[in-house]
Symmetry: C2
């Protein structure tokens, strides 16, 4: 084998792996699966794609080795194929945030418009949570909470938020989080809470970023 052949083949592999991340919808799928296993139907619903198209994208991801699927009755459930995929996604995001200025503007514009409050960072949350100064609310669907959440967080899926308003102590600030820095659930939660006079802020990050910072997650409840 010649040196050029070897390099071509090796870089071809790298490029194929990168191409799997090269479609917005596939990135969204990976972002979702980073929270845990999920069936095709549910992925299609969250991403707003047709079943056929979702399935197609999942095939692409699978043949690139990024996800694996298993049959479970009528459903086929997919999950990320390993820690290196999560790590790769995190690096891609860090790269984009560092190099693409529009991304920061986009984030600021959207979150400014929706919740109108500064997000809180993981470091700050950790410090204040240790001192028992905040109530941490996980607004993701229950199943995602169960598969791993921040220690001390209570599960109040966004659609049930109004029913749980009474549980909020006006003296204690609330910190809401969802799937990560690009998930919109917590922004809507914060907006709702603030319009009712609760001192609420959004965490910039989710379980993925929390555990990437070396902090432990809690399972079940």
């Amino acid at each position: 084998m010649e040196g050029r052949e070897f390099k071509d083949a090796a870089f071809e592999h790298f490029a194929r792996a990168a191409s799997a991340f090269g479609s917005p919808k596939r990135v969204e799928i990976i972002d979702l699966l980073a929270q845990g296993e999920r069936a095709v139907e549910s992925i299609a619903e969250v991403t707003g794609m047709s079943m056929a198209n979702t399935s197609r994208h999942l095939q692409v991801l699978r043949s690139a080795g990024l996800v694996v699927g298993r049959r479970d009755g009528l459903h086929v459930r997919y999950r990320l194929a390993g820690e290196s995929v999560r790590e790769g996604y995190r690096a891609l995001r860090a790269l984009a945030e560092d190099r693409i200025a529009e991304l920061g503007q986009l984030k600021a514009a959207f979150f400014g418009e929706v919740d109108g409050a500064e997000a809180i960072g993981i470091d700050e949350l950790m410090a204040r949570a240790d001192r028992g100064e905040v109530m941490i609310v996980d607004v993701r669907p229950r199943l995602e909470y169960d598969s791993g959440h921040l220690p001390g967080a209570v599960s109040i899926p966004l659609e049930h938020l109004n029913a749980h308003l009474a549980e909020m102590d006006p003296e204690t600030p609330v910190v809401a989080y969802c799937r990560g820095p690009y998930c919109v659930l917590s922004a809507h939660a914060v907006s709702q809470l603030r319009s009712r006079g609760v001192d609420a802020r959004r965490l910039d990050g989710g379980p993925l970023e929390w555990s990437a910072a070396g902090l432990p997650l809690a399972a079940q409840a």
Copy 2:
């Protein structure tokens, strides 16, 4: 702005950044630029592409924010736009090595055929170098050596290797390295040295991996 709009826009940015890595030739360019600044002509030569095509790829990388160029007389010199790009490339490589089995086979087949010796890891090299047991040889072109090399390494560009055979002490094993785990220069160096009876092995990695392991590089000489 709607939640869906926001997500579409954000994931679109991620996908565009990933797509920039989505061509084998562009990955090779990034691999090269990870060693330091380089003019278009020289990139075209190493990668075996036409000038026009190389320039085109560099435009793509530049408009994705991964590289920056500056004019220097007749030349335009490009370099990686920041540490996050290097980090992203490293994560992509780790992902591919973890998830794509063929990559490991390819590496084993090629290096087995060319140099026929086990590569040495960074940890092992560090331990043995501390004890002064090995001679470390940097076989990259001189300019790359100057822009950063392993401490204690001597520069013997591959094409001058034969002229420096006398400097090798038969009692001291030689470790050769070049640009990284996918660079073929050191494999050829090892093959030449071994055919002349020198106990030579290839380092699995280059300056990039060395400094990613938290170890310092030396500059100039």
